[in-house]
Amino acid sequence: MSLSENSNSSSTTKSEFEDNLNVLRQTYFFSGLPLETLKIFAYLCTREKFKDGEYIFQQNEDDGQAFYVLQGKARLERRDNGETAELRECKSGDFIGSLALLGDRPRLFSLKALTDTTCLVLNREKFTKTMEQFPALFPKLIKAVVQRIDTWEERFLMHRPDQCGECMVNLGVSLL
């Protein structure tokens, strides 16, 4: 892919910044923030390209980034005792890693690109520095995250429990 295509893919003069802004407004995490703050995040985001087979993030590393898949496909994996379990796939439009912006923990999973993949990336440092300017917005973010975790588990409980078997005893992450 040549660069000109990337930077100016459309012949209309819509900037990458505007595209980013539209993307962020669609994520659960950012959508509740006022435009002023969103603009800063849209400006600070970068686009990164990963080749087929490259890792977007790796288990046990604390990369401190959140990703929005703009293009391509990637797979979540979990390595245990040398064996790799393939979990689910992420496709364009998926948003992953908001918790990595909030706290510093090593990843429990890896994300591997299955095709050439382009992501919108925001890292913790940029996130934190920006939020320092808007401390009053933090409760909004926390609410969004709590709601997300709750919805997640609720959906799991509605559709999956029969397949889960013994792991049922460990359910209840939303009770944390």
């Binding site: 892919m1 660069l3 000109s4 930077s7 100016n8 012949s11 003069t13 819509k14 900037s15 990458e16 910044f17 980013n20 002023e36 603009k39 800063i40 400006y43 600070l44 970068t46 686009r47 990164e48 390209k49 990963f50 080749k51 490259e54 890792y55 046990n60 590393e61 604390d62 090593p106 990336v121 440092e125 940029k126 520095k129 920006t130 320092e132 300017q133 401390p135």
Partner: protein, 836 residues
């Protein structure tokens, strides 16, 4: 310095007067003696001119006396100037001496002292408070001697002229002598409070600047302002009182000395009218008496400087009058070569407030054994490590390194044998190399060796860079360096030659990560200016910052139909950027993707405001230039807030050809155009090798570029040269141009380079990624096992399995001590901590 010296904080202010200045002070005294004589001569001449020359109407005599008068005035002035010079030298030398000695003393003070003392206090003491004491030292001999001698000389002359008149006119001085010290007491009281308040104020400022993140984070501007303002107001009051008292002294003095002529006129006039005093004598008497004021005034001033200097000096010295905990260097022996064993018995460390940070700790290590200290934060593991490293002075029990008690060793003994990588390593302003050699230099310094003895070679340095995983970073710094004309000419030639091989061997592989300079393509990783000129300027008027003001270039833009579209691009950029960044603080993280620098933001805000109700052509010329400047900086790949319109891209490409044609004909030396055979001095080494710009690649892309470039550099035998350039990279204030990981790697590297017999790692790898952490861990386990004693405060439990011993700490005590497997089998504290 081997001989026992009084520490500066115990020295009296007077001890500075002759210290190192004996010959200057003696010279000064000699000059003064002559000077005082030269000062009386004009008076006598004055009398003789009136009484002899004028009375006898003798022109010759008049000329002779006037000549002598003039000569003595010139001579006096020359001498006065000489004394001022010598006094200034003495004063400045004393201030410098005090500053140095106090700083040297402060650096040796225990860490504890600095927990209670803000940096601002130290800065204020060293920079401000020692000036007046220094001035006092400068004046200390010259001023009293000159002025007292002058007073005596004039006083004597007055008595010689007329004893009665003299006695009456001098009678005012005892009154002054009585009043001034009373007022001075008030001055001193206020000055003492001023010194203390100034100190508090300095530390207040230092504190808020250090905590600026918290202030911004909480928006606590008002709180901080209030705290600061209260202090400033207090200082204001104290300073007013201080000044009023000072002026009080001056006024009292002026008033009483002002009464002098009054007495002389009334009594002298009477005597002259009665014919008991010659008119000439009265004139001489009046001017002699007037001459008393200056020395008297100077004497009073000197007295004030002395009092202020004494207060400042003692207040400052008292504050720092703390003894260092350990001798810096051994006095009558070489520094010890310590054994590698460690014996800690019944060790305790109690703070001033009675908290037991360590309590009855026992452990022993054989030379070459590795110990891991684990436990929750606050368990005392760091404190134990720091006690062993002599950074904390333990309050009970004993620590033996080899067979020597740590508390009895000098700092030199410790640093020659032991290395500490601390939790929050400090990186000093300077180059990577300076920081790498910091520990080695400190060790070699004062070991009595020659300068380069015991200093590591470049090979040693490169080995350590590899070991600590900072090699690639340093290589990067080297590759990102921009060389100057005439610098590293050999390297420049090599790089130009290497380009072809690079494009042949790696060009395809890296095509995605590099935008090659191509005359016929728009460069998205370059600025508009670069895209237009497609070359590196050789003349400063064509440099990127001057281009928007360059008449030739502006005319060219007009010819190429570019002015208007660029202005509108600039306006668009300015508006968008101001809209996004308008209210953000000037931090790098917000401005590195912005075409407007933090300090320009306000200017562009004003312009953006105007654009709301003005058309582009209605703007002032200056503002239009600013917008043009912005447009010329525009680099699509970095400044994402606007897009480059297609038509403008085409227009710029056409402009490029036109510009080249024009300038080649009219000013052929102005630019070196980008071509494969020329080094581009405006670009980094890496971009020169690529003959293009690296594009913003993710970590993997970076890795690929690194691999290719390292392979290339090794193949061409350029690696060392680039690393050497990288070592000269300036790390910035507190190392802020390095990432946290890089700082920590650098801190580990500088201790590895020193390769001490005993190594203390206090969570030394906590900021590193897994790979670097494992690399350093492996190195310690393979290379250092059985050779160097290692004490490691561990922040992660997966790194400690291969240590010889593990100590689990809690509340200042060791709960368990033994090999990892043994402790795990015991299912005690470690087992619980690991949580398996």
């Amino acid at each position: 310095m081997a001989k026992a010296e009084t520490p500066i904080v115990k020295r009296s202010l007077f001890s500075w007067i002759f210290a190192g200045n004996v010959h200057l002070q003696v010279t000064l005294l000699l000059i003064i003696a002559v000077m005082v004589l030269a000062r009386v001569v004009p008076l006598e001449m004055q009398k003789r001119i009136v009484n002899e020359a004028i009375k006898l109407r003798n022109i010759n005599l008049l000329l002779v006396y006037c000549g002598i008068f003039l000569g003595s005035v010139v001579f006096f002035s020359a001498l006065k100037y000489a004394t001022t010079i010598i006094q200034t030298i003495i004063a400045q030398r004393a201030t410098a001496g005090m500053r140095k000695a106090l700083y040297h003393h402060i650096l040796t003070l225990p860490l504890n002292f600095f927990r209670k003392t803000q940096p601002g206090t130290v800065v204020n003491a060293l920079v401000t408070e020692l000036t007046i004491p220094g001035n006092f030292v400068g004046m200390s001999v010259a001023s009293p001697v000159t002025n007292i001698l002058t007073l005596l000389a004039f006083g004597g002359y007055l008595f010689w002229l007329n004893p009665l008149l003299a006695a009456v006119s001098l009678s005012i001085y005892p009154i002054v002598l009585f009043l001034v010290p009373i007022l001075q007491k008030g001055v001193n009281r206020a000055n003492k409070r001023r010194v203390d308040t100034a100190r508090t104020l300095s530390s207040r400022i230092a504190e808020s600047i250090t905590g600026i993140h918290e202030i911004h984070g909480n928006g606590a501007y008002r709180i901080e302002n209030r705290k600061y303002d209260t202090l400033v107001d207090r200082l204001l009051k104290i300073r007013i009182i201080w000044s009023l008292f000072r002026f009080g002294v001056k006024s009292v003095n002026n008033f009483f000395t002002g009464l002098g002529p009054f007495l002389v006129f009334i009594l002298g006039g009477y005597l002259t009218i009665k014919g008991r005093l010659e008119l000439g004598a009265l004139v001489a008497f009046l001017s002699a008496q007037e001459k008393l004021y200056d020395p008297w005034k100077e004497l009073i001033e000197f007295y004030q400087v002395y009092q202020d200097g004494k207060v400042n000096y003692t207040r400052t010295m008292q504050f720092f009058d703390v003894a260092p905990e350990h001798e810096i260097e051994p006095k009558d022996r070489e520094a010890f070569e310590l054994g590698g064993s460690l014996e800690v018995s019944d060790l305790s460390f109690v703070t001033d407030s009675g908290i037991h940070l360590l309590d009855g700790v026992n452990l022993s290590l054989k030379p070459g054994e590795h110990l891991a200290l684990v436990g929750f934060s606050g368990s005392g593991k760091s404190t134990l490590a720091l006690c062993i490293g002599q950074l904390y002075k333990y309050t009970g029990g004993s620590v033996l390194i080899g067979d020597k008690e740590v508390s009895g060793l000098t700092k030199k003994d410790i640093i020659n044998n032991l290395g500490i990588v601390s939790q929050n390593p400090f990186i000093f302003d300077g180059s990577i190399e300076e920081n790498l050699l910091y520990s080695c230099k400190a060790k070699v310094d004062g070991n009595g060796q020659k300068k380069n003895d015991g200093m590591p070679t470049l090979d040693d340095i490169i080995a350590v860079l590899h070991q600590t995983g900072i090699f690639v970073d340093v290589l990067r710094f080297g590759l990102n360096a921009v060389l100057e004309h005439g610098q590293n000419e050999e390297l420049v030639d090599m790089i130009v030659r290497v380009r072809k091989n690079f494009q042949r061997d790696f060009g395809g592989k890296l095509a995605d990560y590099v935008e090659f300079f191509d005359e016929n393509k728009y460069l998205y990783y370059s600025s508009v200016a670069e895209n237009l000129t497609f070359g590196a300027p050789n003349k400063s008027e064509f440099s990127e910052e001057n281009l928007s003001k360059n008449a030739y270039f502006l005319k060219f833009l007009d010819t190429a139909d570019l002015t208007r579209p660029l202005l509108s691009l600039g306006a668009n950029l300015g508006r968008q950027t101001v809209d996004i960044l308008g209210n953000l603080p000037p931090e790098t993280i917000f401005f590195e993707q912005s075409p407007i620098a933090a300090d320009e933001l306000d200017d562009y805000k004003t312009i953006a405001d105007q654009l709301k109700n003005k058309k582009l052509h209605e703007l002032a010329e200056d503002d239009r230039h600013r917008l043009l400047e912005l447009a010329l900086r525009f680099t699509p790949s970095i400044h994402k807030m606007v897009a480059l319109p297609d038509f403008l891209e085409t227009l710029i490409l056409e402009g490029r050809a036109l510009f080249r044609e024009q300038i080649s004909a009219e000013d052929p030396d102005a630019f070196t155009f980008y071509q494969m055979t020329e080094y581009i001095y405006s670009e980094s080494i890496l971009n020169n090798i690529f003959f293009g710009h690296t594009t913003s690649a993710g970590p993997q892309g970076e890795e690929r570029i690194n691999q290719s470039i390292i392979a290339l550099l090794i193949g061409e035998d350029l690696l060392e040269a680039i690393i050497e350039i990288g070592l000269h990279y300036e790390v910035g204030n507190k190392g802020d141009r390095l990432s946290g990981g890089q700082q920590q790697k650098l801190a580990v590297a500088r201790i590895f380079l020193k390769a001490p017999r005993i190594l203390i790692m206090d969570e030394a790898t906590s900021a590193l990624d897994n790979k670097s952490q494992t690399r350093i861990q492996n190195l310690i386990e393979t290379r250092w096992k059985k050779k160097k004693t290692v004490i490691s405060v561990a922040h992660r439990l997966d790194t400690i399995k291969n240590y010889d011993k593990v100590a689990v700490m809690k509340a200042g005590r060791i709960l368990e001590l033994g090999a990892y497997e043994e402790l795990m089998a015991r299912k005690g504290a470690l087992y619980e901590l690991v949580g398996k």
